[in-house]
Symmetry: C2
Subunit: 417 residues, 2 copies
Amino acid sequence: MKRGTSRDIRTANRYEVLRQIIAASPTSRQELAAATGLSLATVATLVGELLDLHMITEVGFEDSAGGRPRGLVAVNASGGALIGVDIAETYVHVELFDLALNVLARAAENMRPGESRPEQVVGHVAAAAGSVVAQAGVEAARVLGVGVSVPGQVDRATGVSAYAPNWDWHDVPLLDLLSEHIAYPLYLDNPLRAGAVAELWFGAARGHANAVVVNLGTGVGAGLVLGGGLHRGVSNSAGEWGHTTLVLDGRPCRCGNHGCVETYVGAPGIMQNLRELSPHSPLLHPDDQTATIDALAAGIAAQDPDAVGAVRETARYLGAGIANLVNLVNPEVVVLSSWVAARLGEPLLEEVREAVARHALQRPLAASRIVLSPIPTDPACLGAATFALEGALQSVGQRGVRRTAPARVRSRIAPAP
Amino acid sequence: MKRGTSRDIRTANRYEVLRQIIAASPTSRQELAAATGLSLATVATLVGELLDLHMITEVGFEDSAGGRPRGLVAVNASGGALIGVDIAETYVHVELFDLALNVLARAAENMRPGESRPEQVVGHVAAAAGSVVAQAGVEAARVLGVGVSVPGQVDRATGVSAYAPNWDWHDVPLLDLLSEHIAYPLYLDNPLRAGAVAELWFGAARGHANAVVVNLGTGVGAGLVLGGGLHRGVSNSAGEWGHTTLVLDGRPCRCGNHGCVETYVGAPGIMQNLRELSPHSPLLHPDDQTATIDALAAGIAAQDPDAVGAVRETARYLGAGIANLVNLVNPEVVVLSSWVAARLGEPLLEEVREAVARHALQRPLAASRIVLSPIPTDPACLGAATFALEGALQSVGQRGVRRTAPARVRSRIAPAP
């Protein structure tokens, strides 16, 4: 049996303590022990490590009833900076965060249809990353790392985009390409896992052992939080709910299968739902997903029958697909995330809740809530930045120095030391 | 965040050490530490506890190159007995095991169609349990517990069958009813989880952090082994893959949904596949699932076109459904288990592998193997007995005495002490 090693457990505990401190600063070691279930001695050790890293600071004392005053710690927001990159089919978003994961600067680049060669994408990322560092005026040495989210299957260890179906990328060495432009430690993963980690640290999955984060964009998928942590699967491919069959022999999917969930509830699938309902609907912008989803959102607000019908039809598929997740995973919470969910919002959520109730078994249905992501910014950027934070925490104690671990360090953006 | 408590971790480690000892007796503390990743000190403590419980014994020493001789331990097969009960739609199987989980006695009762009132089922279980204890001549005090597997949704804590769709049971207090007849500690769960635990301890999931055990019987489902342990979900309902939608608006299912996986690959679904292919096939025994599946198995061996066609059609659905599990969970191994899988065997397996390859994404597909359960006996009995073993291990240290924890002790079967 491959078990978690004691180092894995220490790393997970370190995440957990920092997560709590970020969520509720200032706080005491005693409160942290109560909140995490860890012993006071373990908490004290981990707090000591985080203090040494300047990720948190001592901020005073609080009285404890009759006992001696308790030391308080808080996240040291300015103790470092993190960059999160969300590469999507239609845009690149880059955000720079402080250690409390507040956004200090953001930059966006639009990707035109067809603009999908790796060098083009890398160029957009490099430009936007340079922009946020410059905007925020952050000292280069304070940037702890850059997390990059790219759609599809990724190999984290090698930094390779193994397969991105929208662009038909195969084995693109994305981090190597990015390291030509970006001198900070780089971490690669995909939006399903970035979104799930964002919800786990800062959003609707906080405090839940089992949660599913449904990512609704051009592609769709489900980040799985199981047993209090991210479930990656054996080859970091878990969560490809978008490519599970919902309608056997249904619509053809880019992955080669038919009837995948994504073909009905991804942005192009929603456009198809609208087209089947009303082929000449003025809401339909044939070559523009974003414009069509925006038109649907506006249309629902105005009670436009095409919009109401298309969203209802989408929710019918989405509800059946989410019921599958509820029945299989039995989560406490299902979070609807990413740009399509954000734009269609409450009206979509209500239809989805009704549709899930029609399909799911009563017992797991009763145990789960379905909510919209409460994260106000781009969850994939936030999650990607969190991967960079986790990377920085993971390297603690590995060589006694931080910032040495992943290091693909040839420079453009980082100024000379 | 609800974390595992240190007691949970100690219990999991205790399972792990005993699992290793059962798998490879005799063994040394040093080998156990290497196999489990636990420290030698932790292993020594856990081995001491298991020795105190007479679950294992010291069996001598082996030379260690140059060091002092290492003590060897082995499972103490006769240190206790466990009973596993598999209640299915068409039968009740009861097996009595020693502590090495060897079968010492078995009994089976057939359930006639319509014979589904809780008192009837309980009567069958009590008769068969009495039979195995008598056959094996085991002293009542040595029976550590009885694990009971019943289809559908169960509430383990209260011992209630919350919902059994085949019999339309709702909130049947099964363990209370059984405790009128059986004096040993009773543990309730369902065949998905029993089958998964059996594979995890003794079968194809041993040594894998992520595995899916696909249970093919009258009902179907998927026991999930994730992160090295059984995934139960928030209300012990996880794994209801049989009630995930594969064909939206497809065949009506007993659960109220349409197009559930179970309606195509459960035994009645397979009969329907055969009926649609060849309405008057002599292989079809309209009121007898077991006879039909047996006829299909014999028919495949004889290259009967009805049988070949029906199995291929079943594999088409099953392959799409298993590809969904591969894409979503990204397991190392998918195990086909239970009586339908056992009877249709290799021919079904081969068709399923081909069908999965047509539907799954390449990366998770390449990472996973699909195999038949290697467990030679009834996996649900074995898994249920394992729950009883886990229950006995879990109660260690809770009050300093074992056999006190679940205890629904009114007696028929157990002789007076």
